[in-house]
Symmetry: C2
Subunit: 341 residues, 2 copies
Amino acid sequence: MDNDLHKLRHELLQQTVSLAHGNGGRLTRDLVEGIFAFHFGDDLNTTVDAAPLSPVNGELVMTTDGFIVEPLEFPGGSIGSLAVNGTANDLAVMGARPLYLTLNAFIEEGLEIRLLDRLVADAARAAHAAGAAIVAGDTKVLRQGEGSGLYLGMAGVGVRGRTPKLGLEHIRVGDRLLVSGTIGDHGAAVLLARQEFGLTGNLRSDCGCLVGVAMALIDVPGLRFMRDPTRGGLATVAHDILRGTGCGVRLDEQNIPVSEAAKGVCEILGFDPLILPSEGRLVAVVAPAAAERSLAAMQQHGCPDAAIVGSITTESYVTLRTELGERLIEELEHDPLPRIC
Amino acid sequence: MDNDLHKLRHELLQQTVSLAHGNGGRLTRDLVEGIFAFHFGDDLNTTVDAAPLSPVNGELVMTTDGFIVEPLEFPGGSIGSLAVNGTANDLAVMGARPLYLTLNAFIEEGLEIRLLDRLVADAARAAHAAGAAIVAGDTKVLRQGEGSGLYLGMAGVGVRGRTPKLGLEHIRVGDRLLVSGTIGDHGAAVLLARQEFGLTGNLRSDCGCLVGVAMALIDVPGLRFMRDPTRGGLATVAHDILRGTGCGVRLDEQNIPVSEAAKGVCEILGFDPLILPSEGRLVAVVAPAAAERSLAAMQQHGCPDAAIVGSITTESYVTLRTELGERLIEELEHDPLPRIC
């Protein structure tokens, strides 16, 4: 690091974000160079309005997602790693490798730049882990009281090669539904981190990258559909399947992996783990004959708690088979969980 | 429009955005289908996590920008048209045609859905005019008091073919600097629209699409560099040139087009038009021999007020030649204009 940059960073890290950091002039440039470009490296050319992308072989896919999680840091992740993983995972479940990401930061006046620096560093690390480059960004500063620390918007472009036909339209009755690990840990960890419930625990968010496991699943013939159960949780993915296919989904409660810690949070706060978001889990629908091999692929790619948790039925609703019988899972109507992701 | 959608829209347009519209469940889907997908049409497939892009010939470029303008609607535009034009223009000044856009909406609880609908319709119209499709989006809802109506994040991918070598590194001493029209109208119109100064007037934002004029300029040999003078205005573009090239910029006040209305606002409020943002103007640096032809190209492509306003010098500062002599233009330091774009 050259001396000027070292000095700039030293000064910035003592400060809070001011409105002048958003004016497009010298202080904006200092913030961009000292924090964002410092962590994103040569991938980010701050002197151009748009970043040229290297040629790629394959079909491009594009996605975007917004992030408003509170608090900004939580056990297992932060809004920085969450933004990158959430965006990269949306590409991965479409069968694409994330290549290029862009970041929009809406920063509230008064945010400690030291905290911002940690969050941007988290984003950079997560992008590196996902194999993607953050090639463009923008910062805007909101007056104190017009934001809540930091909101991030992220867009991503990925590439997919010879992909199997993936999509809701390929799902058939009898297909099996798998999850790659315990569900709801992200939601439960964020709720705990808010401390408004007076709870403490060892729960960590599952926030993480699904590119590896998604690419492994694509190699197993019989894959129909993948999705990450983020906002609205596994129950919402099941309803997406119902709506998109007309086929029902039957989940088996005893097979659904839920960590003891998340179970405890849900019991105390009255939440159903089925609606809690995960940010590093994958739901896959596969042909019956592919279920065991897909499960093995998940387990071999860093997902020891993966499980076959349900199947596609001829019924026209989502149900959960429990020890006491079968109950209907309604679509999520109200919002018990603002700012969970 | 089918009956269900008609009914859904009718109901939505009476409502305000609630936290439940952000939960990922039925109400989120209603908002997305009834407002966003309604206006963006078939370009937006709401059943997938990422949108496959059609193959393109040429080099891809990618950009992103955030928008926090207040008020959300102003004479000549809105945050919806501003987001699309701001993003499309960042691609256009790099010599690329915008093709694919993504939209992140951070909506404050309590926003009237009727207003949101107008803003989304503005975005759809602006995208159509720019020749781009909005292919992916996301909505998040902020609790009342944690936002200020609506913030938008937009990313864009464009394509460029045989482009001349564009960039700060191609600028040479003696090159001419052109602007495509009156500067600062956007900034002045937004300030007026806030009504906090008790001023009224007929000023309209210049918010608009630069794709046509940018493509016309590319066809004129001798083009070195293009940029849209948004945040920080023409003065900031001049400083970007100084920093990126080491060459100075001399602007001629008498040649810089400023509307009478914007002049009036600046005089009353004490702003310099050179730092006010434009959102539909282009700054071009061209070889001396290309200046007149570039000016004519601008005039023939909807820019009657285009002008040659300055030149690149051997000096190492930005100056403005006025009737009274030459004065130094400093880089923007503080922030007189929060939430101007």
